[in-house]
C-alpha cells in the first residue's frame, strides 16, 4: 500500500481529473437552454430530433456503453492509461463544443456535431468514474478504503458546484446579453481544455495501481473481462445485486437531492435564476464535507447501514421537504406591502400583424418578509380593438433572507442524504469484485444506477404530473418508489461486511 504522502498524490490526481469530467458533463446540461437556441432550433424537425437524442442517448445509452468499453480496457491494459484516455476524450469533446459555429452559420452540421461530441462526453464519463474509484481503492489500506475513496465521491458534487460557479461568474463578467446571445456561453466549454491539460500532466506522473501491476506481473489478468464479469454466475449475481440493492436507489437519491431540487425551485417555485443557483451553491458547499465523513464512518460501521439510512430518509422526507420548499415561495401565504407595489405596462406591435399589438403587463410586488415578485401577463389586442384574455408570460420570485436560508437548509438536508448514499458507495462497489474484473464489473451497475435510474427522474416526474389529479409533488413518487424498492432489496440481500473479493 501507499505511504500517507503517496496516497494523497493518488487521490489528488484521480479526483482532479474526475471533477473536471463532471464539470464538462454538467455545463452542457446547465447551458442546455442556450445550446438549444444556438444549435437545435425547435422549428427545424431534424435539429429537434438531434436535440432529443443528445439529451436522452448521452445519459441512458452511451454512459453504460462507456462503462463496458473502458471498463474492459481498464481490466486489460490497466487503470492509469484508461482513465487518461477518458480524460482526453472528455476534455477534447467539451472544448470542441465551445468551438462549433451555430446552426445559423453552418446549418444541420451544427446540431449533428454537437450530438456527436455529447455522445463522446457520455462515453468518456462512463469510463472515468470506475477507473478513478478503482485506482484510489487499489492504493488504499483496507481499513481506510471508505475514507480515501470518498474523496472521489466529492467530485460529482464539486463538479456541479464548479460548473454552476463558473457559469454565474462568466455571466456576471461578460453580461447576461453577451452570455446568452453572444459568445459568452462558449467560455465555460473552452476553459475545460486548460483544466484537462493540467489534469493530464498530473496523471501522467502517476504509477499503475499496485494490485493491477501485481496481477499483470503474475500473468493473472483476464483475456475477456466482459465474459468473466457477466458470463460467470458468481460475478454476474454480484453485478445484479450492486445494481438493484445499491446503485439504483443511490442514483435516484443523488439526482433528486441535487438536480431535481434545482429544477423544482426554478420551475415550480419560480425562484429567480441567480438566487436559485446561489441557494444550490451554498447547500453543496455546506454538505460536501459529509461525503468524507460518511465515507470514513463506513470504515467503522460498514457501508450498507449508512447507504440504506440515506435511502430511507429520502423515501420518508422527500414529500415534506419539497412541500416546504413550495410553501416557502408560495405568494398566497405572504403579506403584501401595498405601498411598494409597482405596475409596469408596455404595448408592443406584433411582427407581421399590421394593426395588431401585444400588451405586456408586469406587476412587481414587495412582501413584508422581504420577498419580491414579478408577474407578467400578455394580452393580444387586434386592430379592431378586441382584447384577448390575459395569459401568463412569466413569474419570478426573489425570496427574502429568511425564505432564502430556509431553502438553503432544506436543500442542504437533501444533499446530506446524497452524501450518505454516495459517500461509501465507491468502496462498497470496489469490494464486491476481484481486481481482475473490477473496473468492468463496478462501472456498469454504477452507470445504470446513476445514468438510467437517476437520469430518468425529470422525465418520469414530468410524465407522472400529466396524470389527472396529480399535483406539484406527484413527480416525487418515482424516486421514492425506486429508492424504497432498492432499500428493501439492499436490506435483505446486502452484507454489511466488505466483500470477500476486496483483497483478491
Amino acid at each position: 500500500m501507499q505511504s500517507p504522502k503517496g496516497i494523497w498524490k493518488v487521490i489528488t490526481a484521480s479526483s482532479v481529473g474526475t471533477l473536471i469530467e463532471w464539470y464538462d458533463f454538467y455545463i452542457f446540461g446547465s447551458l442546455s437552454t442556450i445550446i438549444a437556441q444556438k444549435f437545435f432550433p425547435a422549428a427545424n424537425p431534424t435539429a429537434a430530433l438531434l436535440s432529443t437524442l443528445a439529451t436522452f442517448a448521452a445519459g441512458f445509452i452511451v454512459r453504460p456503453f462507456g462503462a463496458l468499453v473502458f471498463g474492459r480496457l481498464g481490466d486489460l491494459i490497466g487503470r492509469k492509461y484508461t482513465f487518461l484516455l477518458t480524460l482526453v476524450l472528455m476534455g477534447g469533446s467539451t472544448f470542441l463544443i465551445g468551438c462549433i459555429p451555430s446552426y445559423a452559420t453552418i446549418g444541420a452540421w451544427a446540431p449533428a456535431l454537437v450530438l456527436l461530441l455529447r455522445l463522446l462526453q457520455g462515453l468518456a464519463l462512463g469510463g472515468e468514474y470506475g477507473g478513478a474509484a478503482t485506482y484510489v481503492a487499489e492504493h488504499s489500506p483496507a481499513h481506510r478504503r471508505g475514507f480515501y475513496t470518498s474523496w472521489i465521491q466529492t467530485t460529482a458534487t464539486l463538479g456541479l458546484f464548479v460548473s454552476v460557479g463558473v457559469i454565474l461568474a462568466i455571466r456576471n463578467i461578460v453580461g447576461v446579453d453577451e452570455f446568452t446571445n453572444g459568445n459568452g456561453w462558449r467560455y465555460p466549454f473552452l476553459l475545460s481544455i486548460v483544466l484537462v491539460i493540467v489534469s493530464i500532466f498530473i496523471r501522467l506522473k502517476m504509477q499503475e495501481s499496485p494490485l493491477f501491476s501485481k496481477l499483470k506481473s503474475e500473468g493473472k489478468t483476464v483475456k475477456n473481462p466482459l465474459k468473466e464479469s457477466f458470463g460467470k454466475k458468481e460475478n454476474f449475481r454480484m453485478v445484479l445485486l450492486a445494481l438493484f440493492g445499491a446503485t439504483m436507489g443511490q442514483g435516484v437519491i443523488w439526482y433528486t437531492g441535487q438536480f431535481y431540487a434545482q429544477q423544482f425551485i426554478l420551475t415550480k417555485c419560480f425562484v429567480e435564476y441567480e438566487q436559485a443557483n446561489t441557494i444550490i451553491l451554498i447547500s453543496l458547499a455546506i454538505a460536501t464535507p459529509f461525503f468524507i465523513i460518511f465515507g470514513s464512518l463506513s470504515d467503522k460501521i460498514g457501508r450498507k447501514h449508512i447507504m440504506l439510512a440515506g435511502m430511507l430518509l429520502g423515501v420518508l422526507c422527500y414529500r415534506p421537504i419539497f412541500q416546504e420548499l413550495y410553501e416557502t415561495a408560495d405568494l398566497s401565504k405572504k403579506v403584501e406591502n401595498v405601498a411598494a407595489m409597482q405596475k409596469l405596462e408596455s404595448v408592443s406591435s406584433v411582427a407581421g400583424g399590421v394593426g395588431d399589438s401585444v400588451k405586456l403587463v408586469t406587476v412587481s410586488k414587495v412582501y413584508e418578509d422581504g420577498s419580491q415578485s414579478k408577474i407578467s401577463t400578455r394580452q393580444q389586442i387586434s386592430s379592431k380593438g378586441v382584447v384577448s384574455e390575459p395569459v401568463n408570460a412569466g413569474k419570478e420570485i426573489q425570496l427574502g433572507s429568511a425564505g432564502k436560508w430556509k431553502m438553503v437548509g432544506l436543500i442542504t438536508l437533501m444533499v446530506l442524504f446524497v452524501t450518505m448514499v454516495y459517500g461509501p458507495i465507491a468502496a462498497f462497489l470496489v469490494e464486491l469484485f476481484p481486481t481482475r474484473i473490477r473496473y468492468t464489473s463496478m462501472s456498469l451497475p454504477y452507470h445504470i444506477g446513476n445514468g438510467v435510474f437517476g437520469g430518468l427522474v425529470p422525465f418520469i416526474a414530468t410524465l407522472i404530473t400529466t396524470v389527472p389529479g396529480t399535483d406539484h409533488l406527484s413527480g416525487l413518487w418515482y424516486p421514492i418508489g425506486v429508492a424504497a424498492l432498492c432499500f428493501v432489496i439492499g436490506l435483505l440481500y446486502l452484507s454489511n461486511k466488505p466483500g470477500k473479493n476486496a483483497e483478491q
Partner: protein
C-alpha cells in the same frame, strides 16, 4: 431470513416483465406522432424501452438467483 429472500425472489422475477409491459403500455398511451414535448415524442420512449429491457431481464435473473438461494449467505 433466507426463506424470505427466496420467496421475494419470485416477486422480483415477476416484477421484471410487469415493469416492462407497463412501460410499453404507458409509452403507447403517451406517444403522439405530432407531439412536441419529450413524453409525447417516440424517440425518448424507444431509447428508454431499449435500455430498460435488459435491466428488466436483469431483475428477473436477480429474482431467479434469489429464488435458487444464490444470495442466502450474503448477510
Amino acid at each position: 431470513m433466507d426463506n424470505l429472500k427466496r420467496y421475494l425472489g419470485f416477486l422480483w422475477m415477476l416484477a421484471g416483465p410487469v415493469i416492462l409491459i407497463a412501460l410499453i403500455a404507458i409509452a403507447a398511451k403517451n406517444i403522439d406522432i405530432n407531439g412536441t414535448t419529450d413524453i409525447s415524442k417516440p424517440i425518448p420512449w424507444i431509447i428508454i424501452i431499449s435500455i430498460f429491457t435488459p435491466v428488466a431481464i436483469g431483475l428477473t435473473i436477480f429474482g431467479w438467483y434469489a429464488w435458487k438461494g444464490e444470495y442466502d449467505k450474503e448477510q
